[in-house]
């Protein structure tokens, strides 16, 4: 036990005395959360649009006003010809154009039938779809205000309720994903250099020729980094709540406990990398390159896993971040308790056990 304690203390001194690295380890997650939190989003907000209004009557002005007032659109230009519309699109100034024909209100009131054209830049199909849907629904709303009392004999009214995220904020989906991504990268990177550093410095040679067992070396190496990671968990949660406006609906204690479990899994991934890498640089690159993309792709927050082909869906199960993403969404956003996430937790715990087991088994008790 004394052996173990002094090893942990030694590891802690390595971290504590390397102030620059410690600074990076503590600030990197903060910067990443802010960066990814604001940059990684597929929400449509403030899209630039133009209006070509040939009618210029009460109705078109009202619709234009509604569209311009919505937070999805930002009316940047009035154009006066179809050529103008096309030119503005070509310059890339707008994503969507609304075209009202001549005599819009007249047609609407007297012919009971008016047309409005939505022209969207479909080079990005998803955004084009979203934008036309938003615009259509604003126009439909206006139509309903025209005849509030009208009662049709048979109507089906769809009642939509957006659970857990009534405002449809993208951050509710992204923040858990970013938390998973950042924790994974930072934790794995920290430990990935831990063992290989001893190999590089030659100190491995001396600690191998001692009564120390691989099991103890590996566990002792993860503990100080777990402490650093706890600080990171705290800063990530604080930023999520106060900077990215995602409230913690569920039990904070449970969320922290689950985060610690995931942190240990990530640290174990790093340890495994460190075990096999030959130099610190290789270890760093492996942990950055081999973890960033799979975490981004397969955790489910960027691309829905259900839409992937079967082999990729199977692979996604091996990505720890996927399970943590599910847990955080359940606990943080939906406010569910442990009974809802015990399966995911169990998966993370088993992954950790396997990773540590393989690390201990693969630990080289000799040089080369």
């Amino acid at each position: 036990m004394k052996q173990f304690v002094i090893f942990v203390k030694k590891e802690w001194l390595h971290i504590w005395r390397d102030r620059r690295t410690l600074f990076i380890l503590l600030f990197m997650p903060i910067i990443q959360i802010v960066l990814y939190g604001f940059a990684l989003t597929n929400e449509v907000k403030n899209s630039r649009i133009a209006v070509f209004d040939q009618s210029r009557d009460e109705a078109t002005r009202a619709i234009t006003g509604e569209i311009g007032a919505s937070r999805y659109f930002n009316l940047v230009k009035n154009v006066y010809s179809y050529q103008g519309v096309e030119a503005t699109f070509r310059k890339g100034e707008i994503r969507l154009a609304v075209v009202f024909p001549r005599g819009f209100r007249y047609d609407l009131l007297h012919g009971n039938h008016a047309q409005v054209q939505l022209i969207a830049d479909a080079s990005d199909p998803n955004t084009a779809n979203t934008l036309t849907n938003y615009a259509s629904s604003i126009i439909n709303n206006y139509q309903q205000t025209l005849q509030p009392a009208a009662t049709l004999p048979y109507t089906i009214k769809t009642q939509v309720r957006m659970l857990y995220n009534p405002e449809l904020k993208g951050a509710y989906n992204f923040v858990p994903g970013v938390m998973a991504l950042v924790l994974m990268l930072v934790c794995a990177m920290m430990t990935s250099i831990a063992i290989v550093k001893e190999k590089e410095m030659g100190t491995m040679e001396v600690i191998l020729v001692s009564p120390l067992k691989p099991f103890r070396i590996i566990i002792a190496k993860t503990i100080p980094y777990l402490l650093v990671s706890m600080v990171n968990i705290a800063s990530i949660l604080l930023l999520s709540v106060y900077a990215l406006d995602v409230p913690i609906t569920g039990n904070l204690g449970l969320l922290i406990a689950e985060s610690i479990v995931f942190t240990i899994t990530s640290l174990s991934v790093g340890i495994l990398i460190s075990n096999t890498a030959k130099t610190q640089q290789t270890a760093m690159f492996t942990s950055m390159m081999s973890l960033f993309l799979p975490t981004l792709l397969f955790s489910g927050f960027m691309f829905p896993i259900e839409n992937m082909p079967a082999p990729l869906r199977v692979i996604s199960n091996l990505v720890p971040a996927k399970w943590y993403f599910i847990i955080v969404k359940d606990v943080m956003i939906k406010g569910l308790g442990f009974t809802a996430v015990w399966r995911e937790t169990l998966i993370l715990v088993s992954m950790t056990a396997v990773l540590l087991g393989v690390s201990i088994y693969k630990f080289k008790i000799r040089l080369i």
Binding site: F7, L13, E205, V206, P211, R366, L367
Partner: protein
């Protein structure tokens, strides 16, 4: 029981096309309480042999034991009881002198107090700097600290891989005095060094070259086996003299050795007369010719040629 035994150790490293033999059929034994020197130039295989004996490397073939334990099957027992100081400074540079010592004492389940007597004389020299980080110590201090760390658990066998390389002459002398004190405590010491002059300080030495042991004997035994007269020659033009000596068919070998040349003849002829003749042919002043006793380096050179 022998402290260290090695039988037919072979170790090769894969090279581009063929394997390079770092150790080729090495056998020797070290007695308890002996200072055993492994003398050889860089790349002779000293470190490979040390790593095999300290259980850090596996030999291709051959058997070795340390303190009666097999280096492959009983490796943990060996690791628990030996002290090992690698050739490269291998302590934690960002830990202070005291922290390093405490760390190594604790991982061997002991404490500094328990074995302080063993390291006292060495540690006292570095104690003024005990709060300094190991990375900031001078070369000699680093070696002293490394020795302390290798000794703190009172090992039964101590392996020192080039402990005096890069250390000044005074510290080297001190270092050897420490080794004698450790020997007096009953610790078996195996030490590797590229310096031939340190061979005489060992109880027995093994001369190693290109993975082969040339000879294993006491320093006197090795020099005693040098069975030809050895001459030391010097003159004003040492370079010309070297060329003249090497040209003469009767000369077997001629090496520059500090201020003089060491010369050995092939046959058993009268060396003195022959040397006078060679020197006389050239135009040399201040000529000194002396019959001398061979040292380890002369023996090493001679053994290398065989």
């Amino acid at each position: 029981m022998k402290a260290i035994t090695a039988e037919n150790i072979v170790k090769s490293y894969p090279a581009k096309k063929t394997a390079v033999y770092a150790l080729n059929n090495v056998s020797f034994a070290v007695d308890q309480g002996e200072i055993f020197g492994l003398i050889g130039p860089d790349g002779a295989g000293k470190t490979s042999l040390f790593r095999i004996l300290t259980t850090l490397l596996l030999a291709d073939t051959g058997k070795a034991t340390v303190d009666g334990f097999d280096v492959i099957n009983d490796y943990q027992n060996i690791r628990n009881r030996i002290g090992y100081m690698p050739g490269r400074f291998s302590l934690y540079q960002d830990l202070s002198v005291q922290e390093n010592l405490e760390f190594f004492a604790t991982i061997f389940n002991t404490s500094i107090q328990e074995n302080y007597a063993l390291i006292k004389e060495i540690y006292e020299q570095i104690e003024p700097f005990k709060t300094r980080r190991a990375g900031q110590l001078s070369g000699g201090m680093k070696q002293k600290l490394a020795l302390c760390c290798a000794l703190i658990h009172k090992p039964s066998v101590l392996f020192l891989d080039e402990p005096t390389t890069g250390v000044d002459a005074v510290s080297r002398k001190e270092f050897w005095e420490m080794l004698y004190r450790l020997k007096a405590q009953g610790i078996t010491i195996m030490v590797a060094t590229p310096y031939m002059d340190e061979a005489g300080r060992c109880d027995r030495v093994a001369l190693i070259q290109k993975g082969k042991l040339l000879s294993v004997d006491t320093p006197n035994g090795i020099t005693g086996a040098f069975n030809k007269p050895l001459w030391s020659v010097s003159a004003n033009n040492m370079f010309g003299l070297m060329n003249d000596l090497k040209k003469d068919p009767a000369v077997e070998s001629c090496f520059p050795f500090g201020q003089v040349h060491h010369v050995v003849f092939k046959g058993r002829e009268n060396g003195r007369a022959k040397l006078d003749e060679i020197v006389g042919r050239g135009n040399y002043n201040q000529v000194t010719i002396k019959a001398i006793k061979p040292n380890i380096e002369d023996c090493f050179m001679a053994l290398m040629r065989e």
